[in-house]
Structure formats: C-alpha cells, structure tokens
Symmetry: C2
C-alpha cells in the first residue's frame, strides 16, 4: 500500500457515517469519498444498472484517485453489486453487510437478531442471508421514514422517537410471533447511526437494560477494514499510512450543495469543499 489511500463509496452521502468510523479506527489514513448523488437512489434501480454504476464509481476511486482499499459504504451496492465491484478493480473491497452480520454473530447469545434497513436493502434479504450463514435467525424490517427524518434534521425529536418506537414494537412483535427472542439489533442503513441515542432509549423502554444490543454496521465495517488492512501490511492499522495531503477529499456526481450542507452532520466534522465529478449517464 504505497499511497495508503482508502476509497469509500456510497450512492449518496449517508456513507459518511462509515467514513467517520473509519477515521476513528485508522487515525493516520487518508480517505477519498465518492457519493454518486446524480444517480441515486440506487434502491429503485435494477441489479444490472446498480452493478454498472457501482463499478464505474469504484474504478474512479481506484484508477483516478489511487485508492488501495475500497469500502462500499452503501447497503444497496453491497447487497447487489459487491461481486461486480470486486471484478472491476484489483484492490481489496469490503462491503457493509458482512461486517454487520459478523458483529451481530459476535454480540448475540440467543442467536436471534433483528435488522432494520431501507426498503431496497430489506427486499434484497442480504442481511438475512449473511446472518443465516453465521447460524443466526433474523427478522428484517424496512423503516422508510427514518432516512427522511434524519435528512430533515429531526434527530433527537419526539416525532422521530415515536416513529422508532412504532417500528421497533412491530419488529419485536414479529420476532416473538416467530418464536424468536432477539437480543441484537443491526442498523443496516448508513443514516441510522445518527439516531443511535434514540434507538438505545426506545430499546431500553421496550426491552429493559439487558434487552437488546445495537450493532452499528458502520462501526462494524470500520473495525473489519482496520483488521484487514493491518493483516495485509503487517502493521498496526493506520500506522503504515502517511499523513501527506488532506485527510479526506469528498467527490459527488451531482449538486454538491446538499452534500456539503448535510454531510458534516454525518461525518461529525466539516466535509470541506466537495468536488463535482462526471461519471457519465
């Protein structure tokens, strides 16, 4: 890893929560982030189209920006296009779904887990399959109101708490009706870490203090990326990556205004100037 640049890709800017977690795990690494905002949402598009868009984005990060490790911080692309991305580049590629499921497997003692995500991610059943492969039983629920609530900035807000309560009550009920006793909740959408405090509070109300553990797939992905990079280089994660140049550089394929405005909320610090890039139609 000569240049020590890690590429992070999302269809929008939600994946900045994954970048935030990566920056904490790899304090000396440099990052290039690409949000394919011109072509979102991926969730409503066909698998073939998503694979093409994601492969083009991955190639931009590797071939034009010198990324030597790729994190696919987009649940839809991770679910539907990870193989296509791996075929399109020569560097290691890590999606968000396997680390999320691995985190759940580590956390759960009942072996019953719950996954919340967007409609597209749930429809792919990628988390359910990854959980099953680890001997876990899982129930999944699409929570389509949570992304707009986060983007509206209603983070610690009574309406959001009520929506979370309704969704989690329904999900717990569904799990229990299937004879399951879930002790782990996987946040399967890059927007959801912003609502972490709300999830924790509502779960405490619904299931008590030893009830349900929350697995944030952004954090789980960052931890797994750090492990893999450490294993490849034989160095402690981050220590091999020189600090030359700016710490992060963000690119977007469409209007950068919303990215710059909302992005800092996801990243936890200013995203800086976002560069517009044209990847074609």
């Amino acid at each position: 890893m000569s240049s020590g640049v890690i590429g992070v890709f999302d269809s929008g800017f939600g994946g900045l929560t994954v970048l935030k977690a990566l920056m904490a795990q790899l304090p000396e690494a440099r990052f290039v982030f690409l949000g394919d905002t011109a072509r979102l949402p991926y969730g409503s598009k066909s698998q073939r189209t998503i694979a093409r868009y994601a492969a083009e984005s991955a190639q931009f990060l590797v071939e034009q920006q010198g990324a030597e490790f790729l994190v696919i911080a987009c649940n839809t692309a991770s679910a539907l296009a990870l193989d296509a991305i791996k075929e399109s580049v020569t560097v290691p590629v890590l999606g968000v779904i396997e680390p999320g499921a691995a985190g759940a497997a580590k956390s759960s003692t009942s072996r019953d887990v719950m996954v919340i995500a967007t409609e597209a991610t749930v429809a792919s059943h990628a988390y359910a399959a990854a959980c099953r492969a680890r001997g876990l039983r899982g129930v999944e629920k699409a929570c389509p109101l949570l992304v707009p609530l986060v983007e509206e900035g209603w983070i610690d807000h009574p309406v959001t708490e009520e929506v979370v309560r309704i969704y989690l009550k329904e999900l717990l009920q569904e799990a229990r009706q299937s004879g399951q006793n879930p002790d782990t909740l996987v946040l399967g959408c890059t927007h959801y870490p912003l609502l972490r405090v709300v999830f924790d509070r509502v779960l405490l109300q619904l299931t008590g203090p030893s009830g349900v553990q929350v697995i944030d797939s952004a954090e789980a992905t960052a931890a797994m990326a750090a492990e893999q990079i450490g294993a490849r280089t034989g160095h402690a994660p981050g220590s091999h990556l020189p600090g030359a140049g700016p710490r992060i550089q963000c690119f977007a394929t469409d209007s950068v205004e919303k990215f710059e405005r909302l992005g800092s909320r996801f990243l936890g610090l200013p995203v800086g100037r976002v560069q517009l890039v044209d990847l074609g139609g």
Copy 2:
C-alpha cells in the same frame, strides 16, 4: 380532438391524484398516464436533464399513445420544463402550478397565501412567482416528510398529524412575522391530497373555522383542463370524448410493482395492469 385521449405525465405515480380529479371532471374522457419511475426523483436533477426527460415522456404520450391534450401532473416538471414540453409536442399542455396559483387567487381575500411542496418545487419558487403574477403575497415551505409518510400508508395517523401540525405552525408563524395574514393554503405536491383530511383538521385547530381555505392543485388543474378542453371543442367538457377502449391505461418506465401497489391509493380505484415502457437512459 378526434381520438379524445388525454395524456397525464408524472415523474412517479403521485400524479394519479391529478388523474383522479380529471376523471371526475371529464367523466367520458379516456386517459393515458405515464410515470417516469425509472428516472425519478426529478427534483435532484438539473433543469436540462429534467427538460429532456419530460419532453421524451410527453412525446411518448402524444406520438405513441395519441394524446391530444397533455396534463403535466408533476410539480418539478411543471416548474422547470413546461416550455420545453410545449416545444416538443403540438398539442395543448397544462401544468399544475398555474392552476394552483389561479385557485389561490380566486379563494384569497387577504391576498396572502401559503404554499407547501417538496424541496425541489419550493427551491424553484415557481408557485411564489405564479402567485406574485396574480397580485398575491406568498410564503412557501418544503415539507419533505409528507411524501414518505403517504407512501408508508400513514394517512390518518397521529404521527402524520403531528408532523403536519409542526410544519403548518412554522409556516403560519413565518407568514405572520412577515406581516401577512394568510387565508389560503395551496397543496403544491401531488401526494398531499391524500392528507386533505389531516390538513383540514389541523388548520381548524390552528386557525379556527373561518381560518384558512385549502386549494388542492390537483383539483384546480383538473377544473382548468376541463375548461380548456370545453373551450377548444365547443362542447361541455367530456362530452366530445368517446368512451371506446379502457377508461385509463397506465405506463411506467421501471418496476411496476410499487406503482400497482400504491397507485390505487392515489387514484381511488384499481390502476389496472401497468405497462412497462423503455424511454432510454
């Protein structure tokens, strides 16, 4: 108007509320509806791209489906692409914004109106300009949570009522702080008519029985379309349109599943089989 077919275009299926209102106004007309679902949301795209998509869609309805009158049941396309659409076809074209503003001008005695819409429509300021052209003062507010709430099916739901109350309180406050005394609320999004009962109830609570009148731009557009068609043909609206063939035929450019599942809620009756059509990238 030999074939008597009216084309209705939207980027998604929200415009089915306009089709519903048109069917009530023109009981003998036949309709072809196109939802450009593969390329939505239009709101995040550039004006040039929206104009190209909308013109292609309009040409499909006119040249391939024989539409002799076009209703653009999409606020974003009406705001940003109406001229481009008019140039691309030879039939009369009506958008949703002018009728909405005309309805507000008819309703308002204080000459102060409020408009709620999506972020993209508000950013275009098309309603504000159309209101100003009629001597009205207007305040606009983006209400980005309302479309997802409608699509989640939370129509007459306490969370939706609370969200509507928060938005309308903020909007009334903004209007009053600008020294305005609004007596009219324009629903500037095709999803909002489904929440009509919620708007009426919240406005009654906030402003009393003689407070604020709601103008549904879907209804206003249908009424204006009926007038224009009547004026063109010299017949009572609808009476010139033969009832041959199915009453409505819906087309979509992507996965028709969501369209068929949610569409009937917007149309108030089954949408029938939705045909997939490819308009290219």
